[in-house]
Assembly symmetry: C2
Amino acid sequence: MQRITEQRRVLLEELQATKRHPTADELYETVRCRLPNISLGTVYRNLDLLVRSGSIRKLDKAGGQARYDADLSEHLHVRCLHCGAIADLPDDGALKLEIPLPVIPSYAITRYRLEFEGTCPGCSAGTT
Amino acid sequence: MQRITEQRRVLLEELQATKRHPTADELYETVRCRLPNISLGTVYRNLDLLVRSGSIRKLDKAGGQARYDADLSEHLHVRCLHCGAIADLPDDGALKLEIPLPVIPSYAITRYRLEFEGTCPGCSAGTT
DNA sequence: AATGCTATTAATAATGATTATCGATACTGA
DNA sequence: TCAGTATCGATAATCATTATTAATAGCATT
Ligand SMILES: [Mn+2]
Ligand SMILES: [Mn+2]
Ligand SMILES: [Zn+2]
Ligand SMILES: [Zn+2]
């Protein structure tokens, strides 16, 4: 009962084709080249469906637009504080983080959120 | 030129008097007992001023209300996925996390966000 | 005390990302 | 074929937060 519509398929394809962690807005612009009549609501609806079915990840952020990632492999992100762009951290080398879940009486801690922040190459070039 | 208004002082006092990490809304209700005419905009404005002056911390969250903390000591938080409540992690014992900032060429990584998630005692009691 | 200056306020409107609604359309399977 | 329903595009609504604005209050100088 979960159809594979053109809109959903193209959306997933375009997200899988980029390493840029685009926002719903950016994805909307991209997808419009192939589906000129798609509406922004459809983009949001299908991104939500894809997240819920486990096909993509949502990288949300207070006070800004969420970004989406079709790379389901375990990896961490760094977010630029100036432009909001997200980049993958290479997990080669020193970054083998093992974060143990804390144990608190009667509190069931199931997971954590970890994200790095800084200034991306583009924005540090502008701030010369 | 930064006056210490009654509204600002009471707001800070009430936040310092609780361990509950209240939202702007909750703080608004609390403060109205002492300042019945305060407006929600004033609460937001002064919380923002207090954050910017380093007197309190803001714990924001995508798709929900931000919460505020007057405890400036270094400590971590756990957020309940059901009710949104935030609790402090006791930093005694095993939780001496040392997270090294990753080094990426031309990317200036300055800090990280780490937050745990789970189910608080109240919500796990309800889900019996 | 009177004047001028500016920070702040309460009330209210606006913003912006996301979600909900709805009538129309397109699949799907009996 | 045809009922049932998933999805669509368009558009309105939501909701936390921020901006605007006219009025007021604090402070300094005359
Ligand atoms: Mn990624
Ligand atoms: Mn705390
Ligand atoms: Zn940047
Ligand atoms: Zn809870």
